[in-house]
């Protein structure tokens, strides 16, 4: 049964839990950022507010926590396209406070999504912008969240010929292949919801050490679905499977893809769509894999929480659904 944890203030629009599920960051329509902490970690009984402040004029649409190796920090994406990084610090013996470290984006170049990954012990921030460009930033000083450097910018297209016309993107979704420790070169997937069909399909990007650039190594789309808008992507944690599993939500439904790890002669990774599930009768808002990568939870337009699993024969199906009721 559902156990209530917290009541949110009026106007709250988004929320995000940190890596250990002990802190919740919530953003609201008037640009207020709130942080809630469990008082007693053992009992996980109830949450108390430890910070609340208006940090921006305008709606916060998304909050993303940074990896804990870089402190307790969040990226807040605002409706006007600005994204800013906020960090909790305490100077000497003073009480802690949340400070802004850096901001990105503008009204003409809106930040649509941001995700953080650790690659070769360097923190990388992948931002998907409304101009159809993906920008990858690197943190120069691991203790200083102000010092970012643009490492690469590219469009989410397979051919290097850039798309004609001005792209107009409604939303984008980025998901890292999270490797624990981040000692290896990492990769991520990004998909767009835009008016430019080449941009939309979700593609896996990998950093090519030899040529110092990001390369698309796989495209998660069937030939007949090329232009489909992508609502959300989610890379499943891999605890030992020989293949990677990635969920991609489009207008056609919810697809589960297998990504092989051995590239062919072009350097492309083999992909296979192993399931197409009905999804949410419309837009999928969010997809989250559990820690084992065996269960996918999704929410979307129909207002339901749905859980998806594979059975013993490898067939994916909806395992259960939750209907929010008062």
């Amino acid at each position: 049964m559902a156990k209530p944890l917290l009541t949110l203030d009026g106007g709250t629009t988004c929320s995000s839990w940190n890596y250990c599920g002990e802190r919740l960051a919530a953003g609201s329509v008037d640009g207020t950022l709130s942080i809630f902490d469990f008082r007693d970690p053992a009992s996980s009984s109830y949450l108390r507010s430890t910070f609340k402040s208006k940090i921006h004029e305008g709606n916060i649409v998304k909050v993303v926590w940074l990896p804990p190796e870089y402190g307790d920090a969040v990226a807040c994406i605002f409706a006007d396209g600005i994204m800013s990084l906020w960090e909790e610090v305490a100077k000497d013996s003073q009480p802690f406070q949340w400070n802004m470290c850096k901001s990105f984006g503008s009204s003409s170049m809106k930040v649509l999504d941001v995700q953080f990954g650790i690659s070769l012990t360097i923190l990388k921030m992948v931002t998907a912008y409304s101009d159809g460009y993906v920008r990858v930033y690197e943190l120069l000083d691991p203790l200083e969240l102000k010092s970012w450097q643009l490492q690469a910018e590219f469009q989410n297209v397979i051919d290097s010929v850039s798309t004609s016309g001005k792209a107009s993107c409604l939303s984008a979704s980025v998901s890292w292949n999270m490797q624990k420790g981040g000692s290896q070169e990492s990769s991520f997937i990004v998909g767009y919801n835009s008016n430019t069909s080449e941009l939309n399909s979700s593609k896996v990007w990998e950093f090519d050490q030899a040529h110092q650039r990001w390369l698309p190594v796989a495209e998660m789309v069937l030939p007949e679905d090329k232009g489909d808008q992508v609502y959300a992507v989610a890379w499943a944690p891999n605890i030992g499977r020989p293949n990677e599993t990635i969920a991609v939500a489009t207008s056609k439904g919810l697809a589960i893809w297998n990504l092989g790890l051995n590239p062919d002669h072009d350097g492309r990774l083999p992909v296979e769509r192993i399931a197409l599930l009905p999804g949410h009768e419309g837009e999928v808002w969010q997809m989250e894999w559990d820690t084992s990568g065996m269960t996918l939870a999704t929410v979307g337009h129909d207002g339901m929480v749905r859980l998806w699993q594979s059975n013993l024969n490898g067939a994916w199906h909806q395992q259960a659904a939750f209907k929010p009721t008062s």
Partner: protein
Amino acid sequence: MAGGEGALVPVPSENGGSVAVYPLHHGLNPPIARLAISWSRGNSLRVSVFRPPSEDQVGGKVVEVKLSNGDQEITDAQWRRIEYGSVSPFAMLQSRRSSFSSLLKVSKSPSPYHLDWWEYVIEYSKDISSLLGGRKLSPNPIIEEPKAIFKKGEEPTCLKAAWELMEIFYADKQSQAWLPERLVDWLADYDSLFSSTQRTIHSKLVDFQKDLVNIQVIEDDPRYWEVLSSALAVGWLDIVVKVLRLHGSYQLDQLSNREIENGLVEAVAVLISKMPRLRPESAVGKLGECFKSKPEFSKAWEKWRAQITKLDCSAFWIQCDNHQTREGLKGMLQIMLGNIDSIHMATCHWIELYVSHFLYIRPFTMGIESMYNLVLKCIQMKPVSNTHRLTGLLIAILEENTEVVLAECSKEYGPWMVAHAVELLSAGSEQAEILLYDERDNLGGISIGELYRLIYAQVLSSHSLTWQIAPIYLTSCMKQGMGLLEILLYRQSVRHNESLLKNIELCRLYGLNHISSNIMKVAGVYDWKHGRKGSGVYWLQQADDANRLHRIAQQLFDSVGKSISDESFKQWEGVIELLGSDSKSAGGLEFLHKYRDFKRFLQQVTSGKSTEAARQAVDSLILLMKNPSTPQRFWLPLLYDSLKLFNWQDCPLLNVSETNLLLNKLQELSLARLRPDFKESSLPPEALGCVRLALATNLGRAILDE
């Protein structure tokens, strides 16, 4: 979740596409604008529910859904007791398995495995079974309370009943020869569980016992004989004999005029207590005569049946004038003679009918297949509208379909049951072992056995009181257990020292050094950023994080040459002290140490004005300036810091050669300033001039002194 915890475990049978929809109560007024989800520990999912923005209403709720709430009949606290209790039998069995397989490799003969393995499994099974409940509700008569049919014991649970069923069929190889008798005992222990869905012999007996005190002449009550027949039909001999002896003819004042009647009652009681059973021995004090071997049993059975037939045809019945007694006893004889109509009448549930078949109709039933056919027949004779969770399992076992057994276990009893029952199942047969331990591509290269352990470990991880036992199950998963364990440990909070230390200890125990170094890194950064610099440096050192330590050292350099308060000097000094213990990890630390000494003396000079301290300060300044590891950019700040020393009132503190050394350094610095890559320090522009003048003055005084 309302559907029992099995609902979220992959099961091989598809339920025709229909999906269970559960309500998620959040207590908000509609409409709902948006939802957000996040997995918490293990199997718990947190859902944020947002209302559209409005002034006067609450904005939303955050709720947590545990996707495996456990068996409804067992409380959370009991579940935790079971979860903790099953750790050691499980771990013991795993360690025995590994020593067994290494033994196999050495001896290359498969015999020891097959000879003895089940003995370990049965020991494991008994250990687990004892966790699932104490004393059973046993139909033993109690002497002190002559009218009590049942002992009051702990309520039996379906979980324990299911476990014992698995034990009987898969683990207990010794009793394979008398499986039917084991089922008779099993039903005696658990018949009450079937009362939840329909009338059973147990519920009949309980009802009768309630009324017993109010009945005057017991043998005149038709229910008395009904209860006797029913209990006899399922072989509860002790109860039958005890209840028979409540017969009115036993009362002392009646003996004389009801001799014949009493004789008949006692004759039946004796026959019942002498009933031959094909089993090694019954529990202490139980009635019936046990025979281990089939020929012996068969002989005794023929003899017993002959005695019953003889009694049935006896002339004494005509002399018995109590109609009720006569008919009642005759009915019991019919049951003992295996009259299917009588038995059908006397039993309620098909499983009772099934058991009485073993006792009176087919006492020589052997083999699972014939037992399965018999089940089908009994279900046909006494159809039920809904399947009980125990009969579902029993049928699956008799069907010999391991996959269905697993699915039943998982659906009805949840992840704990499957993860632990896999050991019993795999001991059952070679096919089952292959099915359970063969690696499958569909499952990402793991076996079904491993999958169920992973699922159970996820359940354990969901709760703060049980996550620490999850590693024991994860480490027994060869392929993916460690991967999940790494994530589990990485995702624990570092904010509380006690849990942090525990976490690191767990990493050490399982050889996960890279995870513990990550955890320490997270702890170090958290402390560093939250004003606990010393602890931050400590954890970063433990994590061998050269990169961050180097950055910290750089931050310390930044304060060289700046005037700092006493308090921050102390902190700064402390951090250098900490960094010092591992000088490899941060460059230029040698300089920082010397600089710290210099700065300390200088502070003493400021506070005390003692010439002795001033001399020490000069000594360490000279050491610093002579040392090649002192970065050039710090030369001027150092000298500027020392102005007071050069202008010392009492006497010149530097001799001629020392002053010359410093002047040379100053000269070198002036030349370096001409290079394009020179970085100007943040000192006032006149600093260089001041230092030069002070040194010149000092030189003059030193020459005069010498």
